[in-house]
Every structure is written in C-alpha cells, then in structure tokens.
C-alpha cells in the first residue's frame, strides 16, 4: 500500500491541481448523468404517451377467419412471459350522428376490468365514472367537448349493419392523445357482440400489453406463428417515432462520449504533468529500491483517487442539476436511474484509470540514474 500512500501524498502536495482535475471529472460525470437521465426520461415519457395506454400487440383473425376465439387471450398470456395483460375485445366502427355532424367512432367492446388493465380508464375519467354496464358507453374529452356530449347523456350511433343503437354515456375519459380522445369509445362486451352479431366465444381481436414495450416485434412474430393469427405491433406502426428516438439516443450517446473523451484527456494531461513534476521523487524511490511496478502503481492510484473523488462529486452535482431541473415547468420530470448512475460512475473511474496508463508506464520505465545524474 506504499504506492497508495505516496499517490495520496502527491495529490495532497498539490491541492489546487488535484481539486481542479476532480472538478473537471465531476463536471464531466454530472453532464453525463444529467444528459443521460434527461434523454432517458424524455424518451420514457414519449413512449408512455404513445403506447402507455394502448395495446402493444393486437392479435387479429388469421387468413380465412373472421373472429378469434375467447381463450386466445389466456393462451397467448400463458405462452409468453413478457405479456402483462391480454384482453379479448370486439371492435366495430360506428357513426355518431347529430343534427350537424356525422362522426366516425372506433368502438371497443370488452370487459371493463380487463380493458382497464390496458387503457387505465378508471384513473383517466374527467366526468362520471368508468362503468360499462349493458348499454353504457364511455367517450373521450375531445369528443365530449366538440359535440356537447356529457356523462348521463344519450349517444346515438349508427352501427355497421345500418341499424341505430343508443347508449348511455357513463363517463368521459382523457387518454392524453387528441385523436384517441375524439375517436375512441368503449362499450361492454355484450353490446359489442350484439352489434357485430357475434357469439359469446367470438371476438374481433386480442389486445396485449408487454412488460418490455420494445420486445413487441419479436413477441408478435412468435404469437402469430404459434396461434396462426395476424399480429400487429406498435413498433411497426410507429416507425417515425422510433427512428426519432433512435436519433435522439445516438446524439445523446455522442455528447456523452465526447464529454468522457474530454474528461479522459484532462486526467491524462494532469497525470502526465504530475509524472514530470514528480520525476525526481520517483527516481529517488527507485534508487532506494522501489520496483518498476510499484512506481507505476503510484499513478494508477492517483488516477483512481482522482476518479473516485471526481465521480462522487459528479454524482452529487448530477443530482443537484436534476433537482434544479425539477423547478423548470416542463411536461415531464427527470428520474435518475440508479443503474445508469452506477454505470456512469464505473465509466468515470475506468476512464480515469485508463488515462493513467501512459504516465504509469513512463514512470515504471524511468531509470533512477536519469534523476541522479541530472541532479
């Protein structure tokens, strides 16, 4: 541990220099933590807005079929561990007609409790309550405001068969998306079966949510193959959003990489200067018997101390920046991920250690005679 002791003493003997380089590492790590957390949270928010309250995969009847069986949801759920919920639904298009307008509505019929697991409707009601008794319907906020339909009102809809149906509006929801809030409506499974002329065991589709939204393509392909059905997944339908997110991740990674390179160059140059400043001491230590490896370790330890100190400071500064961001009025909050912060800390310390390789090697190669001869 003599190398560690000497490293600590060398750093202590130049407090200004040591503090400056630690500050440099701290700023680099803080930037990495802040930018990384910002982008991750922003993307999580965007993904949540896009697919948080909709199906990640929709299983549709296969070739030559018009319906899917009622037990498909349970079977799909049993065959894939990533499936968090699978809901059999009956979907139909209706047209709402009032005195001035005729508006298409995408009506989803199903069990209220199961629909809630996908759409979270019970927590998204702005009027009335999420209740789907026989002949009851819930509609979105935009539809409600645009056409003056409120909880308790009656809603007349023209069904695909051409026959009219009247539902009682039990509540108004806000799914966070204007299109959904204007076009979507939910009814009970029985009413939808009646409207579509389906038997009790016949459904239009099975809507599925996954624990990992980005696994949707693979899971959809497997389910389609296993159950001989069509499977549509959100990723295939949101390519633009995904390419935007990928570009954002790429630019974030580049920013973080350049920050780390700047940190590495800072540490490497400081350690190189320190190695030159301490050549005399290293020469003396070698003259009185210190081995090459132990001499080289002095700079590894210096880098480790600077790296750990700077990284801890960087984590504190990163949290402070995130807290500061909390007071800015933006529609999402940054959630620092412990895993990402641990990764940043690991990268910070590793970069510091790698930066010490050149000074450590030059120190281990130093011949004491160079110092003794030159005085």
């Amino acid at each position: 541990m003599l190398s560690f002791k000497i490293a600590a003493r060398f750093l202590k003997s130049s407090p200004g220099q040591s503090a400056l380089i630690m500050a440099g590492i701290a700023v680099g790590i803080a930037t990495q933590i802040f930018v990384g957390s910002l982008i991750t949270s922003l993307q999580a928010d965007l993904i949540d807005s896009a697919v948080g309250s909709s199906a990640h995969i929709t299983l549709l009847p296969g070739d030559g079929q018009t319906t899917v069986p009622g037990n498909l949801a349970a079977e799909a759920s049993g065959s894939e561990t990533l499936v968090s919920t699978a809901v059999p639904v009956r979907t139909l298009s209706g047209i709402f007609v009032d005195s001035d307008d005729s508006v298409p509505l995408s009506i989803t019929g199903g069990d209220a409790g199961l629909l809630d697991t996908i759409y979270g409707l019970s927590e998204r009601m702005t009027q009335g309550s999420f209740r789907l008794g026989e002949g009851e319907v819930v509609v979105g906020t935009v539809f409600s405001e645009k056409y003056g339909i409120e909880a308790g009102d009656e809603l007349d809809v023209l069904l695909p068969s051409g026959s009219p149906a009247t539902y009682e509006v039990s509540g108004v929801f806000d799914l966070g998306q204007a299109t959904a809030n204007e076009r979507f409506a939910f009814v009970d499974a029985g009413s939808a079966a009646d409207a579509l002329g389906m038997d009790d065991d016949e459904y239009s589709a099975v809507q599925i949510q996954l624990t990992d939204v980005f696994a949707s393509s693979e899971v959809a392909a497997r389910l389609a193959d296993e159950f001989d059905v069509e499977a549509a997944d959100w990723q295939a339908e949101n390519e633009q959003l995904l390419s935007g997110l990928a570009a954002q991740s790429g630019s974030s990674a580049m920013i973080q990489a350049f920050v780390l390179i700047a940190v590495a160059l800072g540490i490497a140059s400081t350690l190189a200067i320190s190695a030159v400043q301490k050549t005399r001491q290293i020469g003396i230590l070698k003259a009185i018997g210190m081995g090459d490896a132990a001499a080289g370790r002095i700079f590894l330890w210096q880098a480790a101390l600077l790296g750990v100190g700077g990284t801890l400071g960087g984590i504190a500064l990163g949290y402070a920046l995130i807290a500061l961001f909390g007071v800015v009025p933006v529609p999402f909050s940054i959630r620092p991920e412990p895993g990402f912060i641990a990764l940043s800390a690991g990268i910070g310390i590793t970069v510091a250690l790698l930066s010490s390789v050149i000074p450590a090697r030059s120190t281990s190669r130093l011949d004491p005679i160079e110092v003794i001869q030159n005085g």
């Binding site: 002791k5 202590k12 003997s13 230590l285 070698k286 003259a287 009185i288 210190m290 081995g291």
Partner: protein, 233 residues
Amino acid sequence: MADLLVADALEKVYGEGDTATRALKGVSFTVAEGEFASIVGQSGSGKSTLLNLIGLLDTPSSGQVLFAGENTTALGRKGRSRVRNEGLGFVFQFHYLLPEFTVWENLTMPAQIAGRTLSADERSRALETLALLGLEGLEKKNANQLSGGQKQRVAIGRALMNRPKLILADEPTGNLDTKNTATVYELFRTINAELGTTFLIVTHDRAVAQQTDRILEVRDGELVQDVRNDYAG
C-alpha cells in the same frame, strides 16, 4: 576479511561509433567488509560513473559487479532494485529527500519499500539513528522544514535504516559548510566503527579522501592508484 564488493573489468561507453565516449576503461578492484575507503578524481574522471555502476543505478557496457558474492550484472531490474533496497545505502551530494513526507517517513522509506511493517527493534533503531544524527524531536517535521545540514543527516539516516552492508556516498558534503562537513564525516566514522558498515565515498577533495583508510584514484576512466592511508582516522 571477506570481499564484499568485486568490481571486475568495468567498462562504460556512452554513445556509439565516432561519438562514443569511454567513461570507464576496465576498472577492477575489491572492497572488503568493514572498509572505509574513498574514490578520488577530478571532475569528469569517471568516479561517479564507477559509483553508479557499483550502486546498480547503471549497468556496465562490459565487466561485472559482484556484491556479497552475487553477480549483480546478471540481475534484471527487479533484482537490482532488491539489492539496492536490502544491501546498499546511498548518500548523494544533494540530499534527495521526499519533500511530501516527514523526517520519520523519509527515514523509514527503505523499510516501507521492502514492504515491511517496522518491528519494535526497527523503531528503536530508527530512534537511535535519529539520536546518532542529532535529529531527535524532528521526526514529525516535514523534510522541507529542515536546514541543509539536517536534510543531509536525514539522508544518511535513510541510507542506514536497512542496515546495509555498503554505503555509497557521492560527494556527500559537497553542499555543506565546513562545520557540517566535519560532522558528517565523524558520523560516517562512528557508524563504520560501531556497526561495521562498509563505506565507499566518492570525492574530488583530497582533504576529504585523506580521512579515509584507503584511497582509490580514478583518472580518465582508469584506476591509477589504490593505496592504504595509515594517517586517517
């Protein structure tokens, strides 16, 4: 007494081809255990080069150095470091203390380099060495806070700490005034007499050499004289 050091046909050539300089031209001699000897010579005569080869700080172009029966020329860097730490003590013209460390830490650095925790014996020896060097009470002082004479005495103490068989001193009093010079040589003599430590002192000053028991003279890279000095001590 047994030979502690054998310098056998030591040559040192700097540079190559037409610009090659032969700093040492086949120097051979032996030093017995407990000797108090000096190497004298003008500046540029090759005496310091000789000391650096004997002290394993440098490697000879040809020839070999045997220390305590071991052919050190065959050793690698690691082996030479071990011999420097365990068998040799260095005192240079400049003290070469570590300014970041205290007197005590500088004094015990060779033991720390050897990876040893100081035993009770070594602690008392270190305290005795401080007393012998007139440095009592300065253990906790930073090396930078000492006077030139005190620093050189700490450097001597450091050279003694591992109880080396041979102390190599290169112009050890070159930066000291007359009073401190006398003190340092008295110390060397005391250590030589009390501990039986062998001394090889390089100097350009004949008056200093006259205080040693044996004088080896180097001129133009060759050993031109090797005489007993019965008037010393």
